[in-house]
Symmetry: C2
Subunit: 279 residues, 2 copies
Amino acid sequence: MKTIDGRAIAKTIREEAGNRAEKLRSEGVVPTLAVVVPTKDEATAWYVRQIARSADKLDIQCRIVELDDPGRNEVVQALQELSADASVHGIICQTPLPEGVALADVAQHIVRHKDIDGANPESLGRLAAGLGSWAPSTAAASVEILKRTGTELAGKRVAVIGRSTVVGKPAALLLVNESATVTVCHSKTRELARVCQEADILIAAVGRAEMVKNDYIKPGAVVVDVGTNPTADGGLVGDVDFDSAASVAGAVTPVPGGVGPVTTGLLLLHAVEAAEQQL
Amino acid sequence: MKTIDGRAIAKTIREEAGNRAEKLRSEGVVPTLAVVVPTKDEATAWYVRQIARSADKLDIQCRIVELDDPGRNEVVQALQELSADASVHGIICQTPLPEGVALADVAQHIVRHKDIDGANPESLGRLAAGLGSWAPSTAAASVEILKRTGTELAGKRVAVIGRSTVVGKPAALLLVNESATVTVCHSKTRELARVCQEADILIAAVGRAEMVKNDYIKPGAVVVDVGTNPTADGGLVGDVDFDSAASVAGAVTPVPGGVGPVTTGLLLLHAVEAAEQQL
């Protein structure tokens, strides 16, 4: 059993982003991303600091736009202003959003060529249609991990647990585009463990701590754990019971140190790509 | 084994469209759809005449815009003009398009609230995100047939053969939204017959005449045949070998007389819905 080292993969991605950012700077462009933070949520604040710190190390500018108890209109306005601001190349909208406001709704106001976290439904549609767009970074990270570990995708069976607009659906679309045979599972799936056991690759994005045990896993399968569930002692656990999974799987991503750092790395890479495209 | 009567389902849908069209006319609105025809292809011409004739019977106006050997720009221009024309409520872009031109590309120029055939990638993204949009009519028809025959979808396993932007992917997204457990299969799927045999519902959208035989089908399963393959004698056959499938399935849609008429009926209903929304 191999523990997939997300931090090492992220390092490679950040190096690539850093090299390309340096090239942009030598051409007089300061690659800049903006993060709209519509919440005082602590976990969100921690995550945004992570992005800002990583960006800083790569000489990518990160502008944090904190909104104090906003309504839908304030979020939309912030996204519209950043969309119109030529000095900003990439825009991220953090969650949680105000009660009753959906990310896909407000994200329609992120102009497509700056939508580096694939939050605008138009980006998702372009992804499905095979036109250029960025996928939501967590979904992109799940697939990137498979690719960078040399996991064959074409013709392989993949089960995705979770059907959210930000992870499950875009991950499924990305994997179908890679010629995998993809099954989308969710809370209404019957005999979930048995369905998952058919899969050569399992993506867990369900949001329930350590729900996925060894009986979900085909011997030798690759397991990607997208979950980030807070523990009582302030730590994080994934959707996969790591030790149980490790007894059957061929490879598993840990939490922390798996999908998370790759997600942050990809956001920075996407920001640089956006800046390159806006040259 | 039940043969699903697509013509009867289509009749009900057309009656609903007709009643709502009449109401619109009584309010002074003439529901109008426009069909851009960028080809001299005979099968396309036949299909467009079908739409026009059905529309005519329901007092829905159908404007046919024939383009003579157009390039990409002429198609885009026609879609832009119709998008801007307040007397047109719904726009359909027929295929085949000029060599090297993708429907999803030109369809970006169909304004969203007139995109009654779900061709603009933005519509597909909104579908995935659970925001309002019309699905491509063939995909919508497949799911509508299941609903109108009382086929339970939540928790059921569905296999979709085909991953096109106009049928396979939107059908899969619609069915995931209905809480089915959906597997997307395609040309790279290994042991295709065995994978399909896991499914309570099988959607065949692969474009190969009578490829799906009884060994693809779980006993009692519902089979929806999206295929329309021309035969040497000028007829049509589906992707499913009807007699072979009928020996195992619980219900099968025939070709012709299955998905086809429901698709046309839904286009008219979508046109009326678009006109209502633009009141």
